[in-house]
Structures are given as structure tokens and as C-alpha cells.
């Protein structure tokens, strides 16, 4: 079954093709969920009702509104069919290019994130509750008995640096959009976005350096694996326990990096309308908004992956639970994978919820406060954290 086409292993190709497609769809769905929760969660926490008007009419006078979820559908349709306003004088190429620079990095960086552990398809379908699936169990048992893959699109040796690289490119989206729109407000938003993203990327990188020192790797897969180990026999080596300060620095820096409340100065609507995408309308504006929602999910994913053990469940190894007090509970391979997936998603949903909660609770920073926080508080704290970590690691602790 080792079919080759242009030197590509076809089994691997199809595995990662489906995986990448699945993760892409997942990010899109999460974007949609975020745009829904942006409305509905804000309403619920502010004692309001929220979106509930858009609906699909059903017979007998019923309406299918899905707690406002249909609003997203209506939004998408509206944005698709409405007139595409453009500035009178603008740089057409850059104006259109900016959308891709804003949107693609948001979905690209997820490539190095593991969503679950190693999956052996032959073993996976060989459990009692998945026997009902036709054809697949026999197929994998017969053709690929030893095949296994990681639920991760790209297991890069430099995975963490890859995330930073992609984050660095995403600045261009904001800059080009603001510059090409030929609008003072857009320009202001672009300048703010650029300086803010450059500033906070430093703190964000430094906050993660401590983790790299402790886990001795920049491979995301290895970082997640290392977090499943136990310190002193009972505490999972989650980033948040190893580097509690770094977690807070990273949280603030990542939110600022993604231009979200309370650091959404680049699109502060009370000051500069919509910032760098003021001049975009219709579907182009929708893509900017969507990129932003996807970025929330990505911040949640990064938090989960680097500080909260990623997909791992505490005390769970590949064949079951090993509790610190000695109990061992055997689990089948399929159960382990499904538990890992659930673990990952629960964590991601929780942090996405938390970020939305913060977004609707906190007032926007002033621009000088933002810069002060970035350069004078977060950066020294991150450096101090790094130095302490280096000393501890050098002394052989942990």
C-alpha cells in the first residue's frame, strides 16, 4: 500500500489531507461559533436578550432561530450580496492583497498544533462501541495493520518558532489594509496595529522562552508530551504550573497581539471608526472580522497547548490512567484518543469563552497605557521570569 506519486507517500498524503481539511473546517466553525458567542454571550452577561430575530420559518408558525445562530447565516448572506463599496482613490492591488495577509496566517498557524495523540487506525476501530462502522475496521486491519499518525498537520522540529513566524506575517494584513484604503482613520489604525503587534510580539516570545528552557525543545509535539509528565510524582508538568507568571504575560501579550479587547486600539470604533478595515465592506469586511474571531480561537489554542497540557488528560497515558496513588485504569486506544480530543476541545472552548468574557468586561486601554504595559511592565517581567527560569534550570531543578 506504499503508493507513490512524485515521491509522496499516498497514505500519508490522504491522512494529512483529511486532517488539514478537518482542522481548517474546525477553525471555520469555531470562527462562526465565536461570532455567535460575541453576540449572545455579551447579551447574556449584560442581562440582555441578544440576537434572536433572524430565523428560518417553519410550518405551523414556528420559527427556527437557534438562539440567534441563524443570524450568522443571515450575516454571511447579507455580506455576500450587498454592494462592495470601495474608496474612490485607493491602491487596488494592496487593498485586495491585505485580506489574504490578514486571513491566511490566522488559519495557517494551527498546522503545528497537535489536536490529539498518536492514532493507530487499525487499533482505533477495534473497540466494541465502534464495531458498527461498516468497512473501515476491516480495511485498516487488513491493509494498514501497523500504520499510525499524529493528529497534527505538521510535526515541525521548529514548531513554536513557526507560530511566531506566521504571527509576524499577519501584521502585513493590518498595515496594507490601512495604507491602501487611502483614509486617515485606516492609516491610523494600521500604524497602531503595526506598532502594537511588534511591541507585544517581543513579550509574547520571551514569555514562552521559559517553557522552552524547561522542556528543552521548541517542537510543539514534544512540549505537549512533556506536559503530561509528573513533577514530584503528582503534579502534571503543565506550563501554567511550571511558569505561572509567564502564563499571565502570554495571555496579555497574545490578546494584544491579536488586537482584541481590551487592546483593540487599531479598531477603536469610538476613535477611528473601524481602524484599518474602515474602508472595507461586504464580504471583504466579513473576512477581516472572521480572521479576528479565528484569532481568538487561536489564542485559546495556544494557551491550551503551551500552558494547559494541550490535548493531554492528567495522569492518562496511551493505555489508561495511572493515578499518583497507584490505581491503574485500563482504557482502550479509541477511548484514549476520544478523551484527548474532548480534553483539547473543552480547554479551547473554555479559554475562548474566557477571552470573550474579558472582551465584554474590560474597557479599552489608552494607547500610551498600552505601550507602557507592553514595554515597561510585561517585557521586564518576562525577562525576569526568563532569568529566574534559566537559573533554576541551570541548577538542575525540576
Amino acid at each position: 500500500m506504499e503508493a507513490n506519486f512524485l515521491g509522496i507517500n499516498m497514505v500519508n498524503f490522504w491522512t494529512y489531507f483529511i486532517l488539514a481539511g478537518g482542522i481548517f473546517v474546525f477553525m471555520f466553525m469555531m470562527g462562526a461559533v465565536m461570532s455567535w458567542s460575541e453576540r449572545k454571550q455579551s447579551a447574556v452577561l449584560q442581562d440582555r436578550i441578544g440576537a434572536n430575530r433572524a430565523s428560518i420559518p417553519l410550518p405551523f408558525g414556528k420559527k427556527f432561530a437557534m438562539w440567534g445562530f441563524i443570524n450568522n447565516l443571515a450575516d454571511a448572506i447579507k455580506c455576500l450580496i450587498k454592494e462592495d463599496f470601495k474608496p474612490k482613490v485607493y491602491d487596488k492591488l494592496m487593498y485586495n492583497l491585505a485580506i489574504f495577509f490578514a486571513f491566511i496566517p490566522a488559519v495557517l498557524a494551527v498546522a503545528v498544533i497537535p489536536f490529539a495523540g498518536i492514532v493507530k487506525p487499525a487499533e482505533f476501530f477495534n473497540v466494541s462501541y465502534l464495531k458498527w462502522i461498516p468497512y473501515l475496521p476491516e480495511y485498516f486491519a487488513k491493509n494498514l495493520p501497523d500504520y499510525s499518525f499524529k493528529v497534527q498537520v505538521a510535526d515541525l522540529n521548529v514548531g513554536l518558532l513557526f507560530i511566531f513566524a506566521i504571527g509576524g506575517i499577519s501584521v502585513f494584513g493590518a498595515i496594507l489594509a490601512g495604507w491602501s484604503s487611502n483614509n486617515k482613520f485606516s492609516m491610523m489604525g494600521a500604524l497602531r496595529a503595526a506598532s502594537q503587534m511588534i511591541s507585544y510580539e517581543v513579550s509574547m516570545g520571551l514569555s514562552l522562552l521559559g517553557l522552552i528552557f524547561i522542556f528543552q525543545t521548541v517542537n510543539v509535539w514534544d512540549i505537549v508530551q512533556a506536559q503530561n509528565e509528573l513533577a514530584w510524582g503528582w503534579l502534571p508538568k503543565w506550563g501554567v504550573f511550571m511558569q505561572p507568571l509567564a502564563m499571565f504575560i502570554f495571555l496579555a501579550a497574545a490578546v494584544a497581539e491579536n488586537k482584541r479587547m481590551p487592546f483593540d486600539l487599531p479598531e477603536a470604533e469610538s476613535e477611528i471608526i473601524s481602524g484599518y478595515f474602515t474602508e472595507y465592506s461586504g464580504f471583504k469586511m466579513l473576512l477581516f472580522m472572521f480572521a479576528e474571531f479565528i484569532e481568538i480561537v487561536f489564542v485559546a489554542i495556544m494557551l491550551t497547548t503551551f500552558f494547559f497540557g494541550g490535548y493531554t488528560v492528567p495522569y492518562m497515558a496511551a493505555d489508561g490512567f495511572y493515578f499518583p496513588w497507584g490505581t491503574y485504569v485500563h482504557l482502550s486506544h479509541a477511548t484514549v484518543v476520544i478523551l484527548q480530543l474532548i480534553s483539547f476541545h473543552v480547554k479551547v472552548f473554555f479559554f475562548a469563552w474566557l477571552l470573550q468574557q474579558a472582551r465584554w468586561s474590560l474597557p479599552r486601554f489608552r494607547y500610551d497605557q498600552l505601550m507602557q504595559l507592553g514595554w515597561r511592565i510585561l517585557l521586564p517581567l518576562a525577562i525576569a521570569n526568563l532569568i529566574i527560569t534559566v537559573i533554576i534550570v541551570a541548577l538542575g531543578g525540576l
Binding site: Q41, A43, V44, L45, Q46, D47, R48, I49, G50, F248, L354, Q357, A358, W360, S361, L362, L373, I377, L381
Partner: protein
């Protein structure tokens, strides 16, 4: 440092020059704020899950507020004479005072030489109206009033919001024909 303000336990005075690290890194206040909103979130979420209404707001326009003030300034009406003609003498005082400039009046000669002037066109663009009530106060003959209710003002079409003379006259509180000397609220 933060100081408690007497009698206001929830409020704190922050001296900017003496801010401590806890205040400067904002995290304490952030968690406090998020904690408050989270309390609200879960309380309302529980209400939703138990099929009660979570929000305190009303579902406009299906619901109207029970506690709406009887003095609420809602949609406009034109007061009529006993013969069904508007009391309005087209003096344009309301159009002059209107801050939103939403009143359009065109005058014409009345058949009655005692009245002399009457509106030929009287339109209020309620999509522009800010419901300040200046027009009611400016009117020298009490020809325009505002009803408390507003729910009829909902529409899918902005042209529906332009109320013309017939629409404004569709309410029928006829009052005495004494134009000049004000009005009797009991009439």
C-alpha cells in the same frame, strides 16, 4: 495605593502617583471585572436553561414596558376641531424649533376668514424625530401633542416613518374651537 471611600464600599480612590504593582499590572481589576460579568453570565444562563427570560430588557416591539410613564413622549398627533379639521394654523413654530428639522409644513388659505391659515401639507419624518417634545411646547394653539405609546413606529421601510396629515389626524380627541386662548386639558 487604593483607598476606600466612606459610605461607598464598592468604590475605591486610586492615587495615581502611588499606584502599587498590583494596580499597575491591572490583573487584580481585570479579574474583579471579569468576576462580576461572569456572575451575571451564569445567573442569566441558568435562567435561560430553565426556560425563563434571562435579560432584564424587553423584547421590543412584542413587549411593551408596563412601567412606561404616562408622560412618555411617543408618536405625534394633530388635535382636531369639532369639524375634523386640524387645529393647526400652519404657523411653523414647531418646524422652526425642531432641532431635527423633521417637520414639513406648507400653508394654504382657509375658507374661514377667522382661521385664515391652515396646513396643506403637514409631515413629520419620525425616523428623523428625536422626540424632544419642543414642537408640543412651541405650538401656540395646542395643535400637536405626543402620545405615550411608541410601538407603532416599528417598520421595515423608512418611508413608512413619514407621517402625513391624514395619519396624524387619525386619532380623534376633538377639542373646543377656541383657537387663540389655549386649551382645556379636560375637553
Amino acid at each position: 495605593m487604593a483607598y476606600q471611600i466612606p459610605n461607598f464600599p464598592d468604590m475605591e480612590y486610586v492615587d495615581r502617583k502611588k499606584r502599587g504593582l498590583t494596580i499597575q499590572v491591572y490583573y487584580r481589576e481585570i479579574f474583579r471585572g471579569v468576576w462580576i460579568t461572569t456572575k451575571h453570565f451564569f445567573r442569566n444562563l441558568w435562567k435561560w436553561l430553565t426556560f425563563r427570560k434571562g435579560g432584564v430588557v424587553i423584547l421590543y416591539p412584542e413587549e411593551t414596558r408596563a412601567d412606561m410613564s404616562p408622560n412618555n413622549r411617543g408618536r405625534h398627533i394633530l388635535v382636531q376641531r369639532s369639524n375634523g379639521q386640524p387645529r393647526c394654523v400652519a404657523c411653523k413654530m414647531c418646524a422652526t424649533i425642531c432641532p431635527a428639522q423633521c417637520i414639513t409644513i406648507e400653508a394654504e388659505e382657509s375658507e374661514d376668514p377667522k382661521i385664515q391659515k391652515r396646513p396643506q401639507v403637514f409631515e413629520i419624518d419620525l425616523s428623523h424625530c428625536i422626540f424632544c417634545g419642543f414642537c408640543v411646547e412651541a405650538c401656540p394653539v395646542d395643535a400637536i401633542r405626543m402620545l405615550p405609546e411608541t410601538s407603532e413606529l416599528v417598520g421595515y421601510d423608512r418611508f413608512r416613518m413619514v407621517y402625513d396629515k391624514e395619519k396624524l389626524l387619525s386619532w380623534h380627541p376633538t377639542v373646543s374651537d377656541d383657537v387663540v386662548h389655549g386649551y382645556n386639558p379636560n375637553a
